[in-house]
């Protein structure tokens, strides 16, 4: 009898403690498009640090830039019944069937960096391109003391990055009525086009004090054009993305500044959003990740 009571007590103990423990350490799945890229390795590190701090168990999957691999990895996460699945999709379209499958299993979904073009996603965490454009405008405005002629090289017409960075830059310049945007031309995020378009603009505009390119590739092309025209002392160039070539150019002094994304912050915010969902707190549909101005 006593033995039976002990067994029952033990069983009760196990049945109460285990779920309690489970509730204290929820599991979050994070599927990353590739870890063969420092950007995403940083994102993972940020997520892991946040998970440790917030007491969640984090499972990280590397899709190796393969949509099929990402899909099967996430199916495993569904089988494990994780509390939240955070996805950095390899492709915004290819991920949609997988997200619908997660929706069917009633597991909340968060997307990171790249969005999804379908399915139900509770929160999206990505860099705030509008804020980045504003940041570039502030740098240009301050360095020119609020007066001068500025050129903007745009990315591929119709892409969200081009739209948002352009909007931010134009909005940011409104604070400096003495600065005139003398030319706005597209160079399709491409270095060769950045070179050719800048050459043409240099022909048309006798006075240019600053150039903002919506990505570093165009900025590096523009720098080639400006140097060939021997006008580098008259103007400076600001890029966007902080790619390796651009960071080297900033260091060498040929590029004035570039705007860097913060993948670690992105990873941290993704895990924080997942925890908010688990604890039934409200999460915004879009969480902008702040950007950072890189200068010499």
């Amino acid at each position: 009898m006593r033995r039976a009571i002990l067994i029952v007590l033990a069983a009760v103990l196990v049945l109460t403690v285990v779920p309690l423990y489970g509730a204290a350490m929820p599991t979050v799945g994070l599927s990353i498009s590739t870890l063969n890229n420092p950007f995403f390795v940083d994102l993972r590190d940020g997520a892991q640090a946040a998970a440790k701090k917030l007491n969640v168990n984090l499972i990280v999957l590397d899709a190796q830039n393969d949509s099929a691999r990402e899909a099967s990895g996430i199916e495993d996460l569904i089988q494990k019944k994780v509390a939240v699945i955070a996805i950095n999709p390899t492709d915004s379209d290819a991920i949609v069937p997988t997200i619908k499958k997660i929706n069917g299993a009633k597991i909340p979904v968060v997307t990171v960096d790249r969005g999804a073009n379908g399915g139900t996603v509770l929160a999206h965490i990505a860099s705030d391109n509008v804020a980045g454009g504003v940041m570039a405008a502030q740098y240009v405005g301050k360095r020119l003391n609020g007066k001068g002629s500025v050129v903007m090289l745009e990315g591929i017409a119709g892409t969200s990055a081009a739209r948002d960075r352009g909007k931010g830059f134009k909005d940011g310049l409104k604070k400096y009525p003495g600065i005139k945007l003398v030319a706005v031309q597209t160079a399709d995020f491409d270095r060769a086009k950045g070179l050719a378009v800048m050459e043409n603009i240099l022909q048309a505009q006798k006075t240019i004090n600053a150039v903002f390119a919506q990505n570093d590739e165009m900025a590096l092309g523009a720098i080639q054009a400006i140097q060939a025209a021997k006008r580098q002392s008259q103007m400076f160039v600001v890029g966007f993305d902080a790619i390796a070539d651009a960071l080297a150019a900033v260091k060498a002094g040929t590029m004035a500044a570039t705007i860097a994304q913060q993948p670690k912050e992105m990873g941290r915010l993704a895990v924080e959003a997942a925890v908010k969902i688990i604890t039934k707190k409200a999460v915004p549909k879009f969480t902008p990740v702040p950007l950072k101005l890189v200068t010499k």
Partner: protein
């Protein structure tokens, strides 16, 4: 008179475009800007010269942009590791010519249509470029090489000098040599040419070799101009090259047209790009304007004939 219009219809379209732009922008008709346009045009023009040979045989070469990227990567890869200029550039041109040779053999010996054969090569060469560069630009090129893109000889940009030599040579080959005559003959009537004892497969293949090698030559200029080889270089260049050839009056049906028109066609596209930049036309309208002007130019050309 009719004959003059027939021959120079596209020239009138070009002059009309120049006059309109000269009125709209005061920075357009300056020596500096005209040299600037010529330098920018050189890359597309040299590719289009090779494309003219291919299209005259009733073929097409869609792989030119990828061939440019791949040979550019090979050149930059060798030069950045300290190999001499001759080795780097020679290897690049050789690679371009070899890819053209493969294109030609697949088409003539394999019996694959040029559109499909070169579409396949477009993908292969682009993929090979990404593999070779690991998706990253190759930098660290010697100054002597960069001179080929940015330098000048008596105020004339080096790329313009190269372009001039290419077009002069192409003109001589197409109008004065057996090779030129056979290329026109193959495009006009391949079967008749074969029956008259010409080795059609050989001359057709040669057209693709020329196209590949000239794509590699434009890779030299682009790589030097950018002071780096880009894995994504040359994307969509095939369309600009085909547009230049067709604007220049060479028909896609082969056998009719010529290299002088191609130069003009390339200049129309270049002048248009330059003019739209000078006038600061919004990027949304630019594409519409470009398409409309190209269609109008061809229509005017056909009307005058």
């Amino acid at each position: 008179m009719r004959d003059i219009l027939r021959r120079f219809g596209i020239l009138f379209a070009f002059i009309l475009l120049m006059v309109v732009l000269a009125f709209l922008s005061d920075s357009f008709l300056t020596v500096n800007n005209l040299l600037n346009i010529a330098r920018q045009v050189s890359i597309n023009a040299i590719i289009a010269a090779g494309m003219t040979f291919v299209i005259l045989t009733f073929g097409i070469d869609l792989s030119v942009g990828s061939v440019l990227a791949f040979s550019g990567a090979i050149i930059a890869g060798l030069l950045s590791r300290g190999h001499p200029l001759v080795v780097g550039i020679g290897a690049g041109l050789l690679v371009g010519g070899l890819i053209g040779l493969v294109n030609g053999l697949i088409i003539t010996k394999g019996g694959v249509q040029p559109f499909i054969a070169t579409l396949g090569m477009l993908t292969i060469a682009r993929g090979a470029t990404l593999v070779y560069t690991d998706g990253r630009p190759i930098t660290g090129l010697p100054d002597a090489f960069v001179w080929l893109g940015a330098g000048e000889i008596a105020r004339i940009p080096v790329p313009v000098v190269i372009m001039t030599v290419v077009f002069a040579a192409s003109y001589v080959v197409l109008t004065q040599t057996v090779l030129g005559r056979y290329i026109y003959a193959i495009g006009g009537n391949e079967e008749a040419t074969r029956l008259s004892g010409v080795n059609v497969a050989f001359y057709k293949t040669l057209a693709y070799v020329i196209s590949g090698a000239l794509s590699a030559l434009s890779a030299v200029i682009l790589t030097a101009r950018l002071n780096s080889a880009q894995p994504t270089a040359g994307m969509g260049y095939e369309l600009d090259a085909i547009a230049a050839v067709v604007l220049g009056g060479t028909t896609l049906a082969g056998g009719e047209g010529g290299i002088a028109g191609t130069l003009l066609g390339a200049f129309i596209i270049g002048v248009l790009n330059n003019g739209l930049n000078l006038l600061n036309v919004s990027s949304f309208y630019q594409q519409v304007v470009k398409g409309v002007v190209i269609l109008l130019a061809v229509l005017l050309d056909r009307r005058l004939r």
